[in-house]
Symmetry: C3
């Protein structure tokens, strides 16, 4: 049932994990120590710990079980997710503290450094979503580690070049992760033949597990968005939680409405729901620093759900799932051309680059992330009179995209060899 890997995989994966893990232990042995100051960022230990647990639950349950809809990956998706997440979190702890390591010779561990590492892991898990079912575990581990390196580099560049606070640049993980994953899957697609997609059959029986993972993400998303906010300003945290909850609620309702309208039989398409009810959380996460009113959050959730559902529908319109054997085909060029005038961007991407996106991360994370960025942009301009910050923000986002693409291209070459 499980996918057959090349015989050489066995000789590689075990030793690779051993070498990497031993390396991580050595780095921790020489440099890491537990922070003696518990109250980081204005939160007590217990408050930071519940934030950490909520994010941890999202990483392990949410992303792990969300990917169980693939027939041959139901079981191993959870295992791979656990493996990738634990490796990546250790690596992210080290990377995030490189600067303090350089200056003081110590990596300080506290609840905040674990939360930040988990959030970096989320960006890797978003990328993984695009290549799942087409890659072996060795590739997955490499992709995840390189993605996190790129994400931390991106954050460092944004901080040093543009003075963007880490709390804000962190939330760009959806855009970074989605475009990184799409670039990787584009490179892999060009190299591989189409027969490898056969691994990606969708199973409706394990759909409830996938739904379980999605609901875990939905419920704990407000914690995710508010985890990095300082405990010194509980009003800001309250605003963030209320905005996130309302945006998620509105996007769940809207995604259901759009899904029913698109379906010729008037049924809920649960793949739509799974992909699109989270779009409000993604968009509000990116635009959080400037959202002040509840209705702004609701409107962002509304727009994100419509964009996400339409994006998903167009991307999957050619994905014919047959009754008996549910085969995933490529996009029908004719249908795609007809709707070209509707969403030029996606069609262009699909026809020109021919990338293949397993978990629909473009419509789940990429498009709502861009919408959130746009909302951030518009609200920022509306709030401040001078254009300095607006220009700065535009420059900042272009940098993000440039860095994303360069990192993913260089990473793709590494994976290819």
């Amino acid at each position: 049932m499980a996918p057959q890997y090349a015989p050489s995989l066995r000789s590689r994966l075990g030793p690779l994990l051993f070498v990497l893990q031993t390396g991580f232990i050595l780095i921790f042995a020489f440099c890491a120590e537990v922070d003696s100051n518990v109250n980081v960022n204005g939160s007590t230990f217990k408050d930071s710990y519940t934030d950490f647990q909520d994010v941890n639950v999202m990483v392990m349950f949410g992303f792990g079980f969300m990917c169980t809809f693939l027939v041959r990956h139901g079981f191993s998706a959870v295992g791979f997710n656990l493996l990738v997440a634990t490796m990546t979190t250790q690596w992210a702890i080290i990377l995030n503290n490189v600067e303090s390591w350089y200056y003081s010779g110590k990596i300080r561990l506290n609840m905040r450094s674990l939360v930040v590492a988990e959030i970096c892991t989320v960006s890797a898990l978003v990328s993984i979503g695009a290549v799942l079912g087409k890659t072996n575990p060795v590739q997955l581990v490499f992709i995840a580690l390189l993605e996190v390196s790129g994400f931390v580099l991106n954050e460092w560049l944004l901080l040093n070049l543009l003075k963007v606070r880490p709390g804000n640049s962190m939330m760009l993980l959806h855009i970074f992760g989605a475009f990184f994953g799409l670039t990787v899957t584009w490179i892999l697609y060009r190299k591989d033949s189409e027969q490898r997609f056969e691994k990606e059959k969708v199973d409706h029986k394990s759909g409830l597990f996938s739904m379980l993972g999605t609901v875990f993400l939905w419920v704990f998303w407000p914690s995710f968005n508010s985890a990095l906010l300082s405990g010194r300003s509980p009003v800001r945290k309250l605003e963030c939680v209320c905005s996130s909850y309302l945006a998620l609620a509105v996007s769940a309702v809207t995604a259901a409405a759009v899904s029913v309208i698109f379906n010729p039989k008037g049924r809920f398409n649960l793949l739509h729901l799974q992909s699109c009810i989270l779009s409000g959380g993604v968009a509000i996460g990116v635009s959080m620093p400037v959202v002040l009113q509840p209705w702004e959050a609701m409107l962002i959730g509304f727009a994100a759900a419509i964009l996400s559902t339409i994006g998903f529908h167009l991307l999957q319109v050619g994905t014919t799932i047959k009754h008996g054997n549910c085969v995933l085909l490529l996009i029908h060029p004719k249908r795609a051309l007809n709707s070209r005038s509707f969403l030029f961007f996606q069609i262009h991407m699909l026809l020109a680059f021919q990338c293949h996106d397993t978990r629909a991360i473009l419509s789940t994370h990429g498009l709502p992330g861009l919408l959130g960025w746009l909302a951030h942009f518009i609200l920022l301009i509306r709030q401040c009179d001078d254009h300095t910050t607006a220009v700065r923000f535009a420059v900042f986002h272009i940098c993000t995209l440039l860095i994303t693409i360069t990192t993913s291209l260089s990473m793709g070459i590494l994976t290819g060899t």
Copy 2:
């Protein structure tokens, strides 16, 4: 696999959701703002947030996955639950703040208003349990919104007529929800033919998901019962949590014991367990304000589990589940008549009204709720010497029932048209 709805449904559900959602956004745009005072009711933001998350987990996981035991509703039960819960919560936020909206022009959002709205949603989800599998999503959304309106009206009447504190009247949600749901299913039953019940097949394969939902409810029930208590009196919260936990533990053991005694093969009936292990939590929730000793809580849990299991057994005694195709039949009149002397109330209800209760909400919520009310009544009389409060309490409960029935009747007429 999924149920076939009338073709007109597609043209109604999508626009209906759009219109309602747009209406909610407009109301929030003109009136809602996030409360600048974070410490509501003596709890810090973080404490209120963990309460909110526990209730949110119960609403999304507990009620969502509890209903997956229906063959054709495994998948869509979770989706419908998500849709109904998000719609209802937004509506409940508005309704609960109508008074402050009237006086100050503002709906204030804080963690407490979200928790109260979620608890109102629970009362709607209880009602939904009776009609699931017999109704389409448009009806479900309408029933839920009208139920919440009735519940908030009921709370307002109790507060203004009888000076019942919202914390106490809130917990009557089990009685209100159960009788509302039963009235609706009675009206629907009279109108529809029996062939519609075919949708309600029970699936033993998805039983583990149903068990998962039940355990979510069981584990977080102490949080649900204590969520509305003031943070200023942690002793009261501790008493509430200990009482709820002990009542739930005792009702789990007792439900298992009664279930084994009833089963001719001496096996656990897991439908019994799923319906009846929660009865202790329901009963203790209603009687919480006057329970002072742990043993009182345990005795209430013991009695609630016996009442709930026997009620479930008598109600489902004619529900023959065949080996191969598990068809749900109507109650055998002969068996029901034989046990008439045992529980006259239920038989009367079934024979006379012929209502049909999918998730057995009468035995899960209705009967334990009434038992909790009775325990409240007895303990109150034992505790105070004068009869003024006792009389007041009796009047108060009669009012609740009257309002419930009138609201549900008027709502049933609305649904029928």
Copy 3:
């Protein structure tokens, strides 16, 4: 589908549960009261409550769903677990407060006494893991109640004879539970014929539920290890959480690596993962009081995962799972003899005692627990100059083992009659 029990079971289980439950209610009625002092052990009510909920989630979801991999026990494993856990927790609350009952006539209930009772329940659930699928519910309840009695007795002896603090002796639950369970299964094995093992078929379809339970344990294990630490020293709690998380992360990666190396086809063996990713948490829990550096925790997790995976592999090497009907056979003596030189201890145990360990508790809890004890021993000697404490610790551990074996033998005789 469900196992057929002897007809006499029905007449026993129901009344037994009723009698035990009534007894518990009577004891609580005469002696228990809710503590009026909420801030126990330096933690506020809310902090203790989140600790309690995390442990409660582990007990109900973790252990409940972890055992669903047995074909005939998928459904009832969760039910039995709920029943055993609720009975055992009530019994443990009474037992843990016998001393205060004796002196002050009162059992005081607070969040800490509930957490301690839940942790005692975990030790019973570990034991239950060895006999699941071979015993009926009456035996399970008896085994669990006797195990908890033995565990509390053991803790009392360690406290009074060796002045071991309860926080430290509590964590020996893995060693106590594992050896207790193995002794019981050894006695049951000698008495019963082999055909009873037929109940123990493994199901790959319900594997995802089993994985869900394992991930619940993995995620909340840091809460479990830190639940008993005083709230007055948040630095100690932070160290404990960081160490536990790192040990669990390392043991997840290492278990995956060893699993791939052992598998002839280079695949993940998910039974390996399920049993072995928790070993780091077990080992670090036992050695927690002396682990000061993160790398020590990581090294312990690394060693525990290797030991656990190799132990599991050798124990299950003869367990041939056929494609079609997956029959669990006994250990091949030949293979076992070949690897005798590798892990003499286990083979000796298997050949000589012929015990049969359903959930592999020896490799999941027993061996990592012993490794944690060894790490505790080594680190203690390295940290202190005098040998008094080292000698005391050795005596203490020998006492634990002796008490474990005597209690389990006496309990086995009780079960046999």
